[in-house]
Each structure stands twice: as structure tokens, then as C-alpha cells.
């Protein structure tokens, strides 16, 4: 397979790249930014994308940095999944991100694929967006006019659609400090390894009580989305009571919780006017159900992490 012809330019600096994007946007030129290329190049090979020019930003070292600031982590847009996987600040402080990286595509793709590229791509079936949503991540965007920061919640729009303008680049993702109780679970398509459904849960525990639960899911709607579970369903329970209810098996509480979670997901989608995704790989109802199961299992795993002494895992 061969992409259609295009002109290739490699940016030498962020300012240069932004200037080039600005000029192209003004002229109406079809320029695509090339980061790791793990999503864009396959689309170009299928000729689903035929940019006139590729602007390769792979040399911009200033976008590769991963910096800690207190508990907060600022991840440069060009940090690869592999970079993140090998960063102890991720594995120790953000186990849900580590969960997602472990099951994201494959090692070769993780060596090239970048965080910024993935977010800018806007794929509805991607592993990182639900995790970053549940972690309240913010996206830093640069253009020739300056820099702005938006919540990821506002950045994601729909299928391959984001808040990014033609003259803008994602430069970083900022993740605030998060509680230890977090996890990502996914049900992968057996061929593509993309999530038919995936869910990230972040759970806040104080003493024996649950004080907050954020769930974000992917693969079932045009974009990853977040729901806040009603306190009446979870907060009234003690940690140990909830754990028993999260277990699998027909006689355990799992199926009942799955139904509750699926109902919450459907309600959230209905409120947003989003149709469930459905294709030859999975029907809409199955995807929603899977998302609920993944959310429950992520909840169980997050709970065990919330409970565990620092550094230990189940």
C-alpha cells in the first residue's frame, strides 16, 4: 500500500512549525501534522487521508519532556507511549495510565505513537482519552497567536473531531495529582486490539467511606465521555461492602452493578444526544454492556489500589 504523493517538511523549531501552520491555514493548504504517525500513516496508506503536505514535528525535543510539578505531571505532546511506560512517575503515581499503556496496541506502535498525536487524532476507540478524562487532564494548545489550555472534556468533540484549529498544535497534556484508587480495564477487539469498550475509574476514599467516583469510558460513543456515579448508589456503602458487590459470578453482585452502570452510561449518552457506536465488530447494546462490566472491574481494581499501602498492587 502506498500513500498518495505529498510534500514533506520537517519542523526545526516549535515557532517555525506554528508559523508554517499559520501560513498554511491562511492559504487554505491541506497540511497535516505528523507526530509518531501510528494513526495518520495507516489512514494515508488506505488513502483515507491525502494531505498535500506533511509537517513532521518529530524533531521538536521541547515537546518530548515529561515534567513533574508537585503531584502534577506535564507530559509533552511528543512523549511516546513507550516513554511513559518507562517513566517511574507514571507507574507509581498514575497506575491507570500504566494499565492503559500495557494494553494499548503493541510494543512497536507504542514506541512511535505519541500522547499528543493520539488526542489530536480524536479516535473514538482509543485507550488513553478515558483515562485522561477520569484524571481531569488538561490540554495545552499552541498557535502563532499564543498558548491556551482547555480541559480534555472540552477538547474532545466527536469521531476524529477535536477542538484543535488548523493553525494549532497540541503541545502538552497536564494531569493533576490523583488518588491511588484508579484503574483502566478494556475489552479489546481480537484483531485490532482497539477497545470495543474501555473504562477508567478513579475512586476517592476517606477512611472507610467512598467520597467520590469518576468513570470515563471509550469505544461506545463518538468520543470518550465521563460520568459521575450517583452518590446514592455507591457512597452509602463501606469499602468492604462495595468490594463484595463488585465480584464476578452470577451469584455475586456483579450483574446487578453492571445493569446499574449500563443504565448510567445510557442516560449520559442520551443526555448528550450521542448514539452508541455499532458496527460489524460489536452492536451498540453489547458495547454499552461491556463498558459497564469494564467500569465495574476497574472500580474493583481501583478500590484495591485505594486500599493498598503505597507501592503495593493486587
Amino acid at each position: 500500500m502506498f500513500p498518495a504523493d505529498f510534500a514533506y517538511a520537517r519542523a526545526g523549531s516549535l515557532a517555525g512549525a506554528l508559523a508554517q501552520l499559520d501560513a498554511a491555514a491562511t492559504a487554505g493548504d491541506n497540511v497535516k501534522v505528523l507526530a509518531g504517525g501510528q494513526s495518520l500513516l495507516p489512514m494515508m496508506k488506505l488513502r483515507l487521508a491525502t494531505p498535500a503536505t506533511l509537517l513532521d514535528i518529530g524533531d521538536l525535543a521541547e515537546l518530548k519532556d515529561i515534567a513533574a510539578d508537585g503531584g502534577q505531571l506535564r507530559i509533552g505532546a511528543l512523549a511516546t507511549y513507550r516513554d511513559l511506560q518507562r517513566d517511574p512517575r507514571i507507574t507509581a503515581g498514575f497506575p491507570a495510565i500504566a494499565d492503559a499503556l500495557t494494553v494499548l496496541a503493541d510494543p512497536q506502535v507504542r514506541a512511535r505513537g505519541t500522547v499528543g498525536g493520539a488526542l489530536a487524532h480524536g479516535d473514538p476507540a482509543a485507550d488513553l482519552p478515558p483515562v485522561l478524562l477520569a484524571l481531569n487532564a488538561r490540554v495545552t494548545i499552541a498557535s502563532r497567536a499564543g498558548t491556551r489550555t482547555v480541559a480534555l472534556e472540552d477538547f474532545l468533540r466527536g469521531v476524529f473531531s477535536t477542538d484543535l484549529a488548523d493553525d494549532e498544535l497540541v503541545t502538552a497534556v497536564t494531569v493533576p495529582a490523583a488518588p491511588a484508587g484508579q484503574a483502566y480495564e478494556k475489552f479489546a477487539h481480537p484483531a485490532s486490539h482497539l477497545p470495543l469498550a474501555g473504562a477508567c475509574t478513579v475512586i476517592e476514599v476517606q477512611g472507610k467511606a467512598i467520597t467520590g467516583t469518576r468513570v470515563a469510558v471509550t469505544g461506545i460513543a463518538p468520543r470518550a465521555f465521563r460520568i459521575d456515579l450517583p452518590q446514592r448508589d455507591l457512597a452509602s456503602r463501606s469499602v468492604s461492602a462495595l468490594r463484595a458487590e463488585l465480584a464476578d459470578g452470577d451469584s455475586a453482585g456483579g450483574p446487578e452493578l453492571d445493569a446499574m452502570l449500563a443504565g448510567a452510561l445510557e442516560a449520559a449518552m442520551a443526555a448528550a444526544g450521542a448514539e452508541p457506536l455499532a458496527d460489524q465488530h460489536a452492536s451498540g447494546p453489547f458495547r454499552v454492556h461491556l463498558a459497564a462490566v469494564m467500569a465495574r472491574r476497574a472500580l474493583a481494581r481501583a478500590l484495591s489500589r485505594a486500599d493498598a499501602p503505597a507501592g503495593a498492587d493486587e
Binding site: 502506498f2 484483531a191 464476578d248
Partner: protein, 758 residues
């Protein structure tokens, strides 16, 4: 013989020095892979394919493509017609009056499946050919399409071809023996099930391809057509090309080279390959074409695609007394040579498997539909026959209340009953089915698994399932007299040459493509001749240097090629006696100025390997996901030449069988568009899909049918694993009262069934 010797094939392949077709250029040229390559090099083809499943071609306009940058030629059906090229070889071995429509090289008038070749663009580089192909302007008047065999056979279905006796039905054949209806009338139990062996894609990791060029003018003078074709059948391909191109066979040189997997799919020759070869003849320059993966889902033959409505009669004591029903087999839009045989010679006759069943009445229906042609795929009728039978046997076990293993035991052909003639007319050579089953059950340990069932349910909520299946695998077929240009009843040939220096060359007409024939046949000849293995060179896959043979398919090479080598070695040993003293063969060759003999296999009868497989699965009721925990495989393939290679075949076939059982399916929408045409959509097993250990064991009942005692075994894993896995999943789903689900057992299918049952 019998030594687990590592392969001599491997060092080259391990170091990137294999020579697959895309790695090769004609002598003295360099591939025009990029725009900067020199003129006169290899040209590259791109195939324009129908985007619709069924249509009349209103017009084809190639002017834009011909004018495009780098384009040397654009060919359509009109060019092939003018040269008298084609048609493709049709189906073989069908009943009289069968519909066997002419299969054009490039579509003319109508297109019959999404992916059928319509035009060929030849350009300086592959990318330029792909660019220009977008400029070929074809107007299609779409027609209704039909893709499933049952729908295509139904009255009122859109009809593909004129002239058939019954719409899209190519033929109906009745397989009958004994009084099946009487047996059913007497039966204490009758079990009946509709079962599908779904259409699947072979997915050789190396896609298909071809490279062709001419030396001189093959149509006159002493020129030759050189064809580098990744094929299982070099001599057969040469004969097909000879007929289609109107060239004498001796003017065509076919070389297989390294072949990156075949599994049956590289047995046929394909229209796109013929068009490329014709293009090389036409433009007088080398032309190469390499299939893209997406194309392989549209253009390479698929396997399976049968729907069985079958019924089994069982006496009160568990004896199976009869089988009856109907099997519809989809063949795609056109027949390939071996497609009918997979139904008529394999699936149907193998329905009784290893059981004493005296009555059968089954109708075998061959059906055409708007889908890519069906070809052989690992097992080609064997896995389907075994799957249908072994599912019914498990249903019969439930109906009778007998343990599935016990029911099988009560029906097995006894070890003392061989040779055994089945009610379908096959003569099984040897076997000990009880022993194989017992060995498998011992390894499986079902008692321990009951403990595990409870432990798993408590630990993860998963449902454990245990399934078994037994099977018989025919192998080693020698096609009928005269087929592919062979001499009547002579079979494949081998030439064994011992040079005066002691170097031994074994040239054989079978044609391996990954199985390890170079190693196995070297071991065999070294043993027979009493020389060191390192002194033996094995040659095959080249119509100039290998003697005639049918190639490698249907688990035939150890039986047919091995017998030919055996006979040639015997002839060499006999010739060595001309030396004035009894001498080792190398010394005799030195004294006699070399020794050589060619022998034919004499078409040895087919062998019947057998096996019993056990599978253990865990089903997650929350998601429907099936995990394979264990596969226990006991195979009896007679005498083993190299157990390492046998185990490799078992492992690989198990993976392919597991793929069909759990995740693989070529499906179509209502318009005949494929729903999976890439490896992003079509799921083949990955390393994590497999159980942690494939527990493979061998037992041995030598075949009396050939001098080596060997039995063909290349397909066994696909035959044993599909029913054993499905039986295991049905065992897991027993609490829900679910008795049958069709493959592939995807998570959604299993989950949906559980929801319906709750």
C-alpha cells in the same frame, strides 16, 4: 528416521536471506521499486478490482490510466480475448450436468464478486501503478447479490450464471448406503442440528504474488517464459498456464522459491497472476505483482462455507446407526479445480469419521454465490466433516445420557477391523482409535477438571468447559490418472543421484512451503542410502530441476513424495550392486562414476491418520469471552520421520482451528460487501490467544499402505480442535441450557445466547 533434527531451511530464513517472490528480480535487472530506478527494470502491476458484488459492466475507460505518469500498459478482458488467453481452470470431478461456468481471467460483461479482477495496470513502480489504477473508469450497473450458500440455493435468489439446471446450484449429489430411513425409524434417539462451518480466510503471512519475464520469444524459436510463482503445485501450474496461454509446457519454467505459507491457498492459480504473466509476455519486460493484504481478503480463495442440516440415529445402547440430511457448500462465484472435491471427496465421505456407521443418506449440494471462489484451506472438507459429526456425537451423548467419551468408545471401529471399508466407500488402512482416545483422556484428567470447575467459578465467576473430539484424517492423495499431466497411475516422481564424490541429490515432485521437506526428505534418503544426512541435498519447487509431481497439498508429501524417494533409493541401491564388491553406496558411486535413478510413487493408496483432542475453556458470563486453558492433542500419523516437524504441524494447525472456532469469519453485508477485509478487522490468533501450552502427544499405528508406514498429518490440528473447542464451550454453557452455537464463538455471540437463556 525418527530423529528430531533441526531444519536445514532455517539459517537462511532466520537471517533475512529467504528468497520469497518479492525478494527476487530477474537476472540482470533491478526492481523499479522507486522512481529513481533505471529503465528496463522490472515493471509493477496493480489490479483494478470490482468494488461491487454483482453488476453488469456498462463501460470500461482506461484512457486516463494509460496516459498517467509511468504507465506502460493497461490490460482489460478485451486484450486477453484478442490474444485468446483463458479461461481459468474450472471445477473438477463433478457429476455430469453440473454448472461449471467459464471463469474469465479479467471480468467481461459482468462482475460476480467484490474483488473480481477487471483490469491490470502496469507501470514503472508499484506506487505509480496504484496511482494510475485510480484513473481506470468502470461504470457498473449493480445487480442484487447473494452471498450465503443457503440463500443462494433458495428459489428466487439472484442468479449469477445462465445455463445451470437449478439457479445457482452447481450440482446435487446423493451419498447413500444402507437403509438410513429404516435405521431412523428404529432409533431410540435422533439428534438433529443445523451447523455452519463458516467462510474463513487462509491468511498466509506472505501474500500471493508473481514475477514473470521472457527469455527470447516463447511463442517461437527457443524462448522461454519464466514464472516465479509462490505455489504448492509447480508442475500443475505450468500445465494450467500452458493451456491458458497456448504455450507448450516446455516453454514455461515455473519456480516456487521460498513460499511464505500456503495452507492450500497457493494451490490454485489465480486470474490476477495469469493477467500479470500475460502482461509480461505482451510488454516483453519483467512484470511483478504482489498482493496487498486487503486484496488477499477479496481475491485469494477462502475456505469452508458449508451449512449442514444433519441428523444422527442412535440406538438405546448408544450405537450410532445412521446419518442423514443435507449439506450446502458455497463455492463462490466460480469453481476452482479442487473445490468440488472438498465436498464430494472429503466432507461427505468423511462424515462417519472413525465410527461403525452402516447407513447414510446425505445430499451434497454445491452452490455458487457472489463471493470469492472457495479453494482448499487446511483440511479442505476434513475439518468440516469431522466438526459436523463430532458435534452430533456430543449432542447424542446428551440425548442418551452417556459420557461423550463412552459414546465414542462404543462406536469406534476396532483396532482389529482394518482395513475397514466405510459405508461411504473409503478404505481406512489402520488405526487404534480406542488407544488414542484413552491416551488423551489420561492426559486430560477430567476428574481433576471437575475440581477446577468449582475453583474457577468461585475465583473469577468463569464457567469451565471440557470438550473432546476424535477424528480420522485422510492424507496422501494422488490425483486421478492424467491429472496435471501426470502419467496414468504413476504418481509423483523422485530422482536420486549419487555423484562420484558421494554427494547425494534428491529431486522430488512434491513441493514444500514451510513444512520442512528439505530436512525430512534428507533424513529419509540418508537413512535409506546409509549416508550422512549432511551429504544429501533436496531439490523441489522448480519444473526444470525437479521431476514431475503433483505438488504438496492434502497431507500428501510424506506418503507420495516419500514413497517416490523410497523407490528411487531402492533403485540406486540396486544399481550399486553393479560394483564388483558389496560397497557402501557412496563408494559404489565413486567406482561406477556416479549412480542415479528416477522412480515414481506408483500412486500409493491414501492413508488415514487419526486423533483425539481435548479442550478446556473458561467462559466469562459477564462478557461472553472464551479463554482456551488447555488443548490436549493425541495424534496417530503412523511412522514419524521427524517428530519436531510433526509437532510443528500439529501446533500450527491447532492455532488455525482455534481461529475458526473462536474468532475468524469472512462475512458479508446484504449488498455483498465484505465486513472484514484487513487484519484490523479479521482476527487471527495471536500469541496471547493460545493456551499457555499445547499438549501434543503421538501414538503410532504404522500404515500398511506404503513402504514407509507413514500417514499424512498436516491438517490434524484444524480437524480435531474445532469440534473439541466448540464441544467445550457448549459444556461450559450447559447450565444455561444452550446446546449449540455456530462458529466463530465470539464474545458477543456467547453473551447474547446467555442473555437469551437467563
Amino acid at each position: 528416521m525418527g530423529t528430531a533434527m533441526v531444519r536445514r531451511e532455517d539459517p537462511a530464513l532466520l537471517t533475512g536471506r529467504g528468497q520469497y517472490v518479492d525478494d527476487v528480480d530477474p537476472p540482470g535487472t533491478q526492481s523499479g521499486g522507486t522512481e529513481g530506478s533505471p529503465p528496463g527494470g522490472t515493471l509493477h502491476a496493480f489490479v483494478v478490482r470490482s468494488p461491487v458484488a454483482h453488476a453488469r459492466i456498462a463501460s470500461v475507460d482506461v484512457r486516463g490510466a494509460r496516459a498517467a505518469d509511468g504507465v506502460v500498459a493497461v490490460l482489460t478482458a478485451a486484450d486477453l480475448d484478442a490474444a485468446g488467453v483463458g479461461p481459468m481452470p474450472g471445477g473438477e470431478g463433478m457429476p455430469a450436468g453440473a454448472l461449471n461456468p467459464p471463469f474469465p481471467v479479467l471480468a467481461a460483461g459482468t462482475v460476480m464478486w467484490a474483488g473480481q479482477p477487471v483490469a491490470l495496470v502496469v507501470a514503472r513502480t508499484p506506487a505509480l501503478a496504484a496511482d494510475a489504477a485510480e484513473l481506470v473508469d468502470v461504470t457498473y450497473d449493480e445487480l442484487p447479490a447473494v452471498t450465503s450458500p443457503l440463500a443462494a440455493a433458495a428459489p428466487g435468489a439472484p442468479v449469477l450464471h445462465d445455463g445451470g439446471p437449478e439457479g445457482n446450484v452447481s450440482f446435487r449429489a446423493r451419498l447413500a448406503a444402507g437403509d438410513a430411513d429404516a435405521a431412523f425409524a428404529r432409533a431410540a434417539h435422533r439428534v438433529r442440528q443445523r451447523m455452519t462451518s463458516q467462510r474463513i480466510a487462509p491468511v498466509t503471512l506472505e501474500p500471493r504474488g508473481v514475477l514473470a519475464w521472457v527469455r527470447g520469444d516463447p511463442r517461437a524459436g527457443d524462448g522461454r517464459l519464466e514464472v516465479r510463482l509462490p505455489t504448492q503445485r509447480p508442475h500443475g501450474s505450468r500445465r494450467w498456464l500452458s493451456a491458458m496461454l497456448g504455450l507448450p509446457p516446455e516453454r514455461i519454467h515455473v519456480v516456487a522459491g521460498d513460499v511464505g505459507g500456503a495452507f492450500g491457498a497457493k494451490g490454485p492459480i489465480y486470474p490476477d497472476q495469469v493477467a500479470v504473466i500475460f502482461a509480461a509476455l505482451t510488454v516483453g519486460r519483467p512484470v511483478k505483482w504482489i498482493e496487498e493484504r486487503g486484496e488477499s481478503f477479496l481475491a485469494t480463495t477462502h475456505g469452508r462455507d458449508q451449512v449442514a442440516d444433519l441428523e444422527m440415529a442412535v440406538a438405546a445402547d448408544g450405537r450410532i446407526t445412521a446419518l442423514r440430511g443435507v449439506v450446502h457448500a458455497g463455492f463462490g462465484a466460480y469453481l476452482t479445480p479442487n473445490a468440488p472435491g472438498s465436498l464430494l471427496g472429503r466432507l461427505g465421505p468423511m462424515l462417519p469419521q472413525g465410527y461403525r456407521i452402516s447407513a447414510i443418506d446425505v445430499e451434497l449440494v454445491g452452490v455458487l454465490s457472489n463471493t470469492p471462489p472457495i479453494g482448499p484451506y487446511r483440511g479442505a472438507g476434513r475439518p468440516e466433516g469431522a466438526y459436523f459429526c463430532e458435534r452430533l456425537v456430543d449432542l447424542a451423548a446428551t440425548a442418551t445420557g452417556l459420557d461423550p467419551a463412552e459414546l465414542r468408545r462404543r462406536n469406534f471401529i476396532g483396532a482389529g477391523e482394518f482395513p475397514y471399508t466405510t459405508c461411504t466407500g473409503l478404505v481406512y488402512d489402520s488405526g487404534d482409535y480406542q488407544a488414542g482416545l484413552q491416551e488423551m483422556l489420561t492426559r486430560l484428567d477430567r476428574t481433576a477438571l471437575e475440581t477446577e470447575r468449582a475453583r474457577l467459578a468461585a475465583a473469577t465467576g468463569e464457567l469451565l468447559g471440557v470438550g473432546i473430539a476424535s477424528f480420522v484424517e485422510p492424507g496422501g492423495i494422488t490425483p486421478g490418472a492424467g491429472h496435471a499431466g501426470g502419467a496414468p497411475d504413476a504418481g509423483d516422481q523422485a530422482t536420486v543421484t549419487v555423484s562420484p564424490s558421494g554427494a547425494v541429490t534428491v529431486a522430488v515432485g512434491t513441493s514444500g512451503h514451510g513444512q520442512g521437506h528439505e530436512t525430512a526428505f534428507a533424513q529419509l534418503a540418508a537413512d535409506l542410502l546409509g549416508v550422512p544426512c549432511e551429504d544429501v541435498t533436496v531439490v523441489f519447487g522448480d519444473t526444470d530441476t525437479a521431476p514431475f509431481g503433483y505438488g504438496t497439498f492434502g497431507s500428501r508429501s510424506a506418503v507420495a513424495g516419500g514413497t517416490a524417494i523410497y523407490r528411487a533409493c531402492q533403485a540406486v541401491l540396486e544399481a550399486a550392486k553393479r560394483a564388483d564388491a558389496p560397497l557402501p553406496v557412496a563408494q559404489a558411486a565413486a567406482r561406477l562414476g556416479g549412480l542415479s535413478a528416477t522412480a515414481a510413487s506408483g500412486a500409493p493408496p491414501e492413508t488415514y491418520a487419526s486423533g483425539s483432542y481435548g479442550c478446556v475453556v473458561a467462559v466469562d458470563p459477564a462478557t461472553g469471552a472464551v479463554r482456551v486453558l488447555r488443548v490436549v492433542a493425541v495424534d496417530d500419523c503412523g511412522v514419524v520421520i521427524n517428530p519436531l516437524l510433526v509437532e510443528g504441524q500439529v501446533h500450527g494447525a491447532i492455532a488455525q482451528g482455534l481461529g475458526q472456532a473462536l474468532c475468524e469469519e469472512v462475512a458479508y453485508d446484504a449488498a455483498g460487501q465484505p465486513l472484514a477485509a484487513s487484519l484490523m478487522d479479521y482476527a487471527v490468533p495471536f500469541a496471547e490467544s493460545m493456551p499457555p501450552l499445547l499438549e501434543s502427544y503421538l501414538v503410532c499405528t504404522p500404515s500398511p499402505a506404503n513402504p514407509l508406514g507413514v500417514k499424512g498429518m498436516g491438517e490434524s490440528g484444524t480437524i480435531g480442535v474445532t469440534p473439541a473447542l466448540v464441544n467445550a464451550v457448549m459444556d461450559a454453557l450447559r447450565p444455561y441450557g444452550i446446546t449449540h452455537l455456530d462458529m466463530p464463538l465470539t464474545a458477543e455471540k456467547v453473551w447474547t445466547a446467555i442473555q437469551a437463556a437467563r
